[in-house]
């Protein structure tokens, strides 16, 4: 400032010129260091801003954390206390009537409530047929039991009477001839003839009497038994058909909640069903089937505490109560559904009951379960030492 002012106002003088030259010289001398320094500062600023390391952050959703010091972790699947009851249909056929619709899924049913009915019209036809067939032996039995027919008895009785009279007359004739034979008024042959006539008349009378007795005694009991057996047979058949008809109607086998309803009028139901028709479950206290890897089995003891986390929630763990251990170690259930799946490992299944009331637990849902293995690990460590 001073320089330009002096140049502008008083004009160039010897002193001023030297001063200006010195200034420019120093400017030139300072230029390189100034450029260098500013570039260096720029470089330092670049390094400082670029090498800022990214700070660690928390995951978008807090992953489930074990609430215990030492833990066995396992994946669990929620199931009803009754396990999943896949209601089956005893008869195959087209569904005629449904008493529940897919909209009723989630509602409760009582044991014995009607669920759906498969086509039973052919059974009703068979029932009518059997019932009609029953009438024949029934009528036969009635006829047998109403014997003797009174209208038949009277002529026979009259016939007996007639033959009896006939026999009396023959006896009289013979007696008379017998007396006459002593007086030799008749020949021997006449007497013999009369005796034979008497014997024939007696036989005739006895036969008629016997026939009358047969008639009066009515139908023969074994005949009736045969007819009764026929009746019993057809009655049994009717009962069978009725049972079949009742089997065509499917009812709830337990008290529970309908977890799935897969029946619609007009659909065909095969036996065994090709899909889950209706799935029932007792949802009073849902359970978790926890799968423990076989390499963790040595650390597991029945009765250990456990806690479950609903996947995707930041919430508190749900406390679990030990129910039982399935003593059969099974291949790990893979949830991929791929058919070329091979088994990696086998798992011990342990059942736990969810203690808390929660709305976010559904059957079939996967949960992350942590089993408290603090006690066992402590023992193992102390033994190891």
């Amino acid at each position: 400032m001073t320089v330009s002012k002096s140049v502008g106002t008083t004009g160039p003088t010897q002193t001023n010129m030297r001063f200006v030259r010195a200034f420019f010289a120093s400017l030139r001398n300072m230029a390189v260091p100034a450029v260098s320094l500013s570039l260096l500062l720029f470089g330092v600023a670049h390094v400082v801003t670029s090498t800022r390391s990214e700070p660690a952050i928390d995951p978008p959703v807090t992953p489930p954390r074990s609430p215990y010091g030492a833990t066995i972790a396992g994946a669990g699947v929620v199931e009803p206390r009754s396990e999943n009851v896949r209601v089956g249909a005893p008869l195959s056929g087209v569904i005629l009537t449904t008493f529940v619709t897919p909209d009723d899924t989630g509602k409760s049913v009582k044991k014995g409530d009607l669920l759906f009915q498969v086509d039973d019209r052919h059974l009703h036809a068979q029932l009518l047929h059997a019932e009609a067939r029953l009438l024949v032996p029934q009528a036969q039995l009635a006829r047998l039991e109403s014997q003797p027919r009174p209208e038949e008895v009277s002529p026979q009785r009259f016939r007996v009477d007639a033959l009896r009279a006939n026999a009396v007359r023959a006896r009289d004739d013979f007696q008379r001839l017998l007396q006459l034979s002593d007086s030799r008024t008749i020949s021997e042959s006449e007497l013999v003839a009369s005796r034979q006539t008497l014997q024939a008349a007696d036989a005739e009378r006895d036969r008629a009497q016997a026939e009358l007795d047969l008639l009066i005694s009515g139908a023969w009991e074994p005949d009736k038994e045969v007819t009764r057996a026929e009746i019993a047979q057809i009655v049994a058949e009717i009962a069978r058909i009725k049972t079949e008809i009742s089997r065509s109607t499917v009812t709830a086998p337990i008290d529970g909640v309908m977890l799935q309803v897969n029946v619609r009028t007009g659909e065909f139901v095969a036996t065994p069903p090709t899909k889950d028709l209706i799935v029932l479950g007792d949802m009073q206290r849902p359970r978790v089937r926890v799968e423990i890897d076989e390499s963790d089995i040595p650390r597991f003891r029945p009765g250990m505490d456990a806690a479950a986390f609903v996947r995707g929630s930041d919430g508190q763990p749900l406390p679990l109560r030990f129910v039982r251990t399935e003593p059969f170690v099974v291949p790990k259930q893979s949830l991929t559904g791929s058919n070329d799946e091979r088994v990696d490992t086998r798992v011990l299944q342990v059942l736990y009951e969810i203690q808390a009331q929660t709305h976010s637990v559904f059957v079939g849902q996967q949960m992350d379960v942590f089993v408290n293995a603090t006690a066992v690990d402590a023992v193992t460590v102390s033994n190891g030492e």
Binding site: V32, L37, E54, T62, S66, D293, D296, R311, D340, D344
Partner: protein
């Protein structure tokens, strides 16, 4: 005396600037090459660094580097969760698949399958869309440079549909991710839908991301995981270096860059050394006069060293600034994004430059030391 040394230095402008230029050039060459080398090496493990929410990586014990991990059984996730000292663990898939674009072109892409429930390993910064959109069916996200690689020159639009393994996938977000070594796009999706996106294989999960309990030593937890499950467990830093070491030992990159950096050093040293030597030689008369005036040898060596130090410092400053300017100007170019002047390079090259100038000064001052003061008056 220092003042005289400075006057001598500045007096010959051409030599002065030549010396500074030589040093600047050497600095620029070396810092730039080292920085690019470090940056490219860092890119080989950039996916490791991008996972900022999990400090521990668990994988097959024989894994050599990040792109190679084979699948491990799904049940191992539960076993890792059961290891004492592990706070939480989540599954992760990382692999490479081919994506078919709308037009029928296809691109190899790096695919991440994040744990459905927690999205551990998700990108930290979104440019378009929300992270929660990843929960939509068939959803995937791509990093910004990956988007530009897949659809060059097109504006960032969400909702694009690509085919992965003949399955439809819909773009729901564009995120920020460090560029991978192979420059492939990085796709993020959920683990459960990765099964469809990856051609059938028996085991899918190849990494487990875990976090140590608060207060426990991550290294100790890694050892514990390895002991209990037989899987390899590394902290982020360990895995980062493991991957980098793999690439250092199996690729020609270090040799290539090593040659360039050495050449930078040699050229810088040659130019500077030669110029400085000549400069000192030309000033031999002045030094002789000084010597005749009774200035001690050590004083003269000190002067030469001071000249060297000043030249070195100025040249180094300019070189560093030019390197910084280079990286600042390429910051927004996708292919060079994420490269920057690393402080180690700056410091290392600083030391190298100081070595060059002190060497040159030493050699040059030899002449002065053996100089007979009377000699300058003879001619």
């Amino acid at each position: 005396m220092s003042w005289i040394a400075m006057r001598m230095l500045i007096g010959d402008t051409a030599k002065y600037l030549g010396l500074i230029f030589g040093i600047s050039f050497a600095t620029l060459l070396m810092t730039q090459q080292i920085s690019i080398f470090v940056g490219i090496m860092k890119r080989t493990a950039s996916q490791v660094l991008d996972v900022r929410d999990a400090p521990i990586w668990v994988m097959d014990e024989k894994t050599r580097f990040i792109d190679e991990a084979p699948g491990i059984p799904e049940g191992d996730l539960e076993r890792v969760r059961g290891v004492t000292g592990v706070d939480w663990a989540a599954r992760l898939y990382k692999g490479q698949v081919t994506a078919r674009l709308e037009g029928g072109e296809f691109r190899a892409v790096v695919l991440f399958g994040l744990d459905d429930a927690t999205l551990v390993g998700a990108p930290a910064e979104m440019i378009r869309g929300q992270l929660s959109d990843l929960r939509q069916p068939d959803a995937f996200m791509v990093d910004k440079s990956g988007y530009e690689y897949m659809w060059p020159g097109e504006p960032l639009i969400l909702g694009r549909v690509v085919e992965l393994n003949d399955r439809r996938a819909r773009l729901v977000g564009i995120c920020k991710a460090s560029a991978p070594f192979t420059t492939l796009p990085v796709l993020y999706t959920r683990y459960s839908i990765v099964r469809g996106f990856v051609p059938g294989q028996r085991t899918l999960m190849n990494y487990i991301l875990a976090s140590p309990k608060r207060g426990s030593d991550p290294l100790q937890v890694c050892v514990q995981i390895n002991k209990v499950t037989g899987l390899a467990a590394y902290t982020q830093e360990q895995f980062f270096w493991k991957t980098i070491k793999y690439f250092l030992s199996t690729t020609g990159i270090p040799v290539n860059f090593g040659i360039t950096i050495t050449l930078g050093f040699l050229v810088g040293a040659a130019i500077t050394g030669q110029t400085f030597y000549l400069f000192t030689l030309e000033n031999l008369k002045q030094f002789g006069v000084l010597k005749a005036m009774g200035v001690s040898n050590s004083r003269i060596v000190g002067m030469v060293l001071l000249q060297g130090a000043v030249v070195g410092l100025l040249g180094f400053g300019i070189g560093i600034g030019l390197t910084a300017a280079f990286f600042e100007s390429t910051k927004n170019i996708t292919h060079l994004a994420g490269l920057y002047l690393v402080p180690e390079a700056a410091v290392g090259v600083g030391v190298a430059v100081m070595m060059i100038v002190s060497l040159a000064a030493m050699v040059a001052s030899m002449k002065v030391l053996w100089l007979e003061p009377a000699q300058v008056f003879r001619g």
